[in-house]
């Protein structure tokens, strides 16, 4: 299922920090259904239904994502339904989340709406994350 994105995931997480590729910005009018693989910073202001692998992902206020996210850093200020796998996660006050956030460090702002779990994982968990696990109850 996730075979397509194995390599980009690994690259996204292991790419050297100094190499900055131009960021992508998906505005509020843009709807995407499919798999997104970004080796750059990706800001989502619109709707994405599908899987996302990115270096850094920002869900802007008004943005909506349904699906799993793998990134080195995730900032959520919009709404999310699905799972997040990222060592660093920030949940802003405008966030509306329904799902799970697998993280190493996380911040959650007062006012954020969060329904789900935030399992902590060691940093090595994210380095070896080439295939998304099926989450157990």
């Amino acid at each position: 299922m996730f075979a397509l994105s194995r390599r980009p995931d690994a690259r996204a997480l292991s790419a050297p920090r100094g190499v900055e590729l131009p960021p992508s910005y998906l505005r509020s009018s843009l709807r995407i259904r499919g798999v997104l693989e970004a080796e750059c910073e990706l800001t989502i202001g619109g709707v994405v239904i599908g899987r996302i692998a990115a270096l850094k992902l920002v869900i802007a206020p008004g943005g909506h994502v349904e699906g799993d996210i793998v990134a080195r850093e995730v900032v959520i200020a919009g709404s999310l339904k699905g799972r997040v796998f990222a060592p660093t996660v920030a949940v802003e006050e405008t966030a509306h989340i329904d799902g799970r956030i697998f993280h190493h460090t996380i911040s959650v702002a007062r006012g954020a709406h969060f329904d789900g779990r935030m399992p902590w994982r060691p940093i090595s968990y994210f380095e070896t994350l080439d295939q998304l696990p099926e989450t157990q109850p």
Partner: protein
């Protein structure tokens, strides 16, 4: 008690002292600004600024927008927009629908647009359905040019025909996760 008072004390001393005063004062101000800033760009620039799919982004799936899209990355699927610009090193495998499509990269598929511009670096493999076309010298075209846009009641008419696709992708995991918590 001291713990609870701790936040107030620096603020008090801050307001009486000269130097540290701006910091405690700035923090509560900064937060509403930070909240306001992300809100304003889509509202302000949403009409004028296109969505940007940079060269480091690959999308497998369908895109639709009621605004302009700038594509510099790789897309495996259909694109629907108003103004669609496909940059130099961009690749699209699928059909591009729009009012105005400007191609400087590669399309392997089809263009259906009212106005089509093929730049000198364009590589177009497939048919172009248009009303109005401009082709610069150097453009590569392997396909038919059909000036039939709008004449046949085609799929390109509306931008929002993509919506009623069933949720696939991650839905089993999502539903399972949803059921659990």
């Amino acid at each position: 008690m001291t713990i609870f008072n701790r936040n107030d004390k620096p603020a008090d001393t801050g307001t009486s002292g000269a130097a540290p005063a701006p910091k405690p004062a700035a923090q509560p101000v900064a937060q509403p600004q930070a909240a306001a800033q992300p809100l304003s760009p889509p509202a302000k620039t949403g009409a004028s600024m296109p969505s940007v799919i940079s060269k480091a982004l690959k999308i497998t799936g369908q895109l639709e927008s009621t605004e302009d899209i700038q594509i510099d990355g790789e897309i495996d699927g259909d694109v629907r927009g108003v103004g669609v610009k496909i940059g130099n090193n961009a690749k699209v495998k699928g059909t591009v629908y729009g009012d105005e499509v400007e191609l400087a990269g590669t399309i392997d598929g089809k263009i259906e647009a009212k106005k089509v511009i093929l730049n000198g670096t364009a590589r177009m493999s497939g048919d172009v359905v248009h009303q109005d076309i401009k082709i610069e010298s150097g453009a590569f075209i392997d396909g038919h040019l059909k000036p039939e846009f709008g004449k046949t009641a085609s799929k390109s008419a509306s931008v929002s025909t993509l919506k009623p696709v069933a949720t696939t992708g991650t839905s089993p995991a999502d539903k399972a996760a949803e059921a659990r918590h």
